[in-house]
Amino acid sequence: MDRVRTIRTAHTAWAASLLCLGLALTACGGAPEEGTAPADQEAGAAATEADSFSVTDPWIKAVTAEEGMTGVFGELVNGSGQEITLVSASYGAAGKVELHESVTEGADSTMREKEGGFTVPPEGSHVLEPGADHIMVMDLAEDLEPGADANVTVEFSDGSTAEFTAAVKDYAGADEEYGGEGPEESQDGGHEGHEDH
């Protein structure tokens, strides 16, 4: 599954490439510009931030519902000449989703909500990765099993939204301590990884 830029209400490399298998003789294998361009152009008059948005290689760390918290990572891509800003995100099986940044001191990493969201420069990208900016998923109601798909919705500053599918990956890191809102700090077992380092 190669890197596939997703378009508008995006699916990811992961899902889109699976989709392509079924459509190999039509849109994906044939003339890609015909498959997607008209819709974009029709919408061109009132292009939203979501229209310019795609995500490359999105993934989410596998956790159990009991662990409760996880992070979404990937490269946020802005295909337009205007800055776009991702201001919130949601995930169906999560009670709460926040946009986070991580602050590292020594080997310890603390994360907190990122004020103003994630800004993606014109024709540029913004990387979400462990130890840095990420989408924080909390109060999970169900397990995220490795190899499954997770549909994440993101909202932009103009109110437009896009959905993408993140691959669920087994990952040992991304265990930052949550320094956001005091009382939650120690309640979650998934964030104890760095305490003795």
């Binding site: 599954m1 190669d2 890197r3 992961w14 889109a16 490439s17 699976l18 989709l19 392509c20 298998l21 190999a24 290689d57 993934w59 760390k61 596998a62 990572f73 099993e145 490795p146 190899g147 499954a148 691959a167 990956k169 087994d170 990952y171 040992a172 890191g173």
Partner: protein, 402 residues
């Protein structure tokens, strides 16, 4: 096969530029001396930048000219891994293998820099009987399981059959190490490692491509081998359509053959040649002069005795049944970690049907082959290697999504 498709890395271009300059200077010199046109300078391609496509109708790593390093990892599925778990696992592993084959890190790779040197990396997946049974018990080919017992074998179950095989090969051992580690991280929720077998051939570039390998007993090993891309190869190696999910796939018989090099040392050269029926120096049959000369089993020596003795390996391995042939792609192994030498051959044999192709030949060797005195199979495992997958697909999909 598309092997050896060259890609330049930035570093390759830089080094290539320097070398091209030197080449041009040398060319000018040659021109002066010989009055012939200077050869066009060519930038050397770094081995590490070479890639083998992961996607295709067949899995890479069978027809692919053997890379210098190979690691075979066998896993057993955890009890809780059901058919959907296998599907998710194969999606993850196929995605990892596809990316890394192109010198790109797998998703969520913690050491992405180690993925930057593909060095013809291939990952080939094989399914053991247990995996196929867990998905669809009616889909198990009759040959997928332990081979018939052979008297001479001394099999250690530690090297036996397992549910899932990863065959990872590349011309760079660091690349192999990283690829194996990355995929095992993705497998750890689904399966545990049963064994790992690591082997090597001559380093990339040490000998011309296509040179038949030499095993650690010193023999040219693998002279008679179907040639990838030929009709014969296709017929012998690829499964024709039964079971359906395996059409375009093949089977792997992986035999760990220990060689007893200390007693082999006691044999002088003529005796060694008689044991095999081939010359040591170039692998030619004792009845010929070149490696690929046809073996003449009827020839006699000056005393009227068969030139190729009755007990010779080539005589015993030979069959008149053209269907009883296999494709070999083995690796040497040599471990001294425990003080003594544990050396031998990872005999990797690919064929459409192990019971019809591999077993009868092995039966003949088991009954009589003087080489058995210095070699013992200590491990044996059989896997079904599904066909390849297209971009966006994953290996095993025809089985897992029926």
């Amino acid at each position: 096969m598309g092997d050896g498709e060259a890609q330049f890395s930035r570093r390759g271009l830089l080094l290539g530029g320097a070398a091209a300059g030197a080449g041009a200077a040398g060319g000018a010199l040659a021109h002066r001396w010989t009055a012939e046109p200077a050869p066009a300078p060519r930038a050397p391609v770094l081995n590490g930048t070479l890639t083998v496509p992961f996607h295709g109708t067949r899995q890479a790593g069978v027809e692919t000219p053997p890379q210098a390093h190979g690691t075979f990892v066998a896993l057993d599925l955890e009890p809780g891994t059901d058919a959907d778990g296998v599907r998710r696992l194969m999606r993850l592993l196929s995605d990892d293998a596809a990316r890394m084959s192109q010198g790109e890190p797998a998703l969520a790779d913690t050491e992405p820099e180690l993925a930057e040197v593909p060095a013809r990396l291939t990952t080939t997946f094989g399914f053991g009987r247990g995996l196929v049974e867990r998905v669809d018990a009616t889909a198990v080919p009759d040959w997928l399981g332990p081979l018939p017992e052979f008297d001479h074998d001394r099999l250690d179950p530690a090297w036996g059959g397992a549910d899932l095989l990863l065959q990872v090969c590349a011309d760079d051992p660091v690349t192999v190490s990283h690829a194996v580690r990355m995929m095992l991280k993705d497998a750890r929720s689904f399966a545990r490692v049963r064994w790992t077998q690591t082997g090597f051939r001559r380093a990339h570039g040490s000998q011309p491509g296509g040179t038949t390998m030499r095993n650690l007993m010193g023999q040219v090993d693998g002279t008679v081998n179907p040639v990838p891309g030929t009709e014969e190869f296709d017929r012998l190696v690829w499964v024709g359509g039964e079971p359906e999910w395996l059409e375009g796939g093949t089977s792997l018989v992986l035999r760990r053959i220990a060689t007893h090099l200390d007693t082999w040392d006691e044999l002088d050269r003529p005796a060694r040649e008689a044991v095999i029926g081939r010359r040591v120096d170039n692998g030619a049959p004792l009845t010929g002069t070149e490696e690929h000369d046809e073996v003449d089993l009827d020839a006699t020596d000056s005393s009227g005795l068969p030139a190729i003795p009755a007990f010779a390996h080539v005589r015993r391995a030979r069959t008149d049944d053209p269907g009883q042939r296999i494709f070999r792609r083995g690796y040497n192994y040599d471990h001294r970690d425990s003080g003594g030498q544990d050396a031998g051959l990872l005999f990797a044999s690919y064929q459409a049907d192990p019971l019809r192709q591999f077993a009868p030949v092995q039966q003949r060797l088991d009954e009589l082959d003087l080489l058995n005195q210095w070699t013992t199979a200590v491990g044996s495992a059989v896997f079904a290697l599904p066909p390849g997958c297209e971009e966006g697909g994953y290996v095993g999909r025809p089985l897992l999504e029926g």
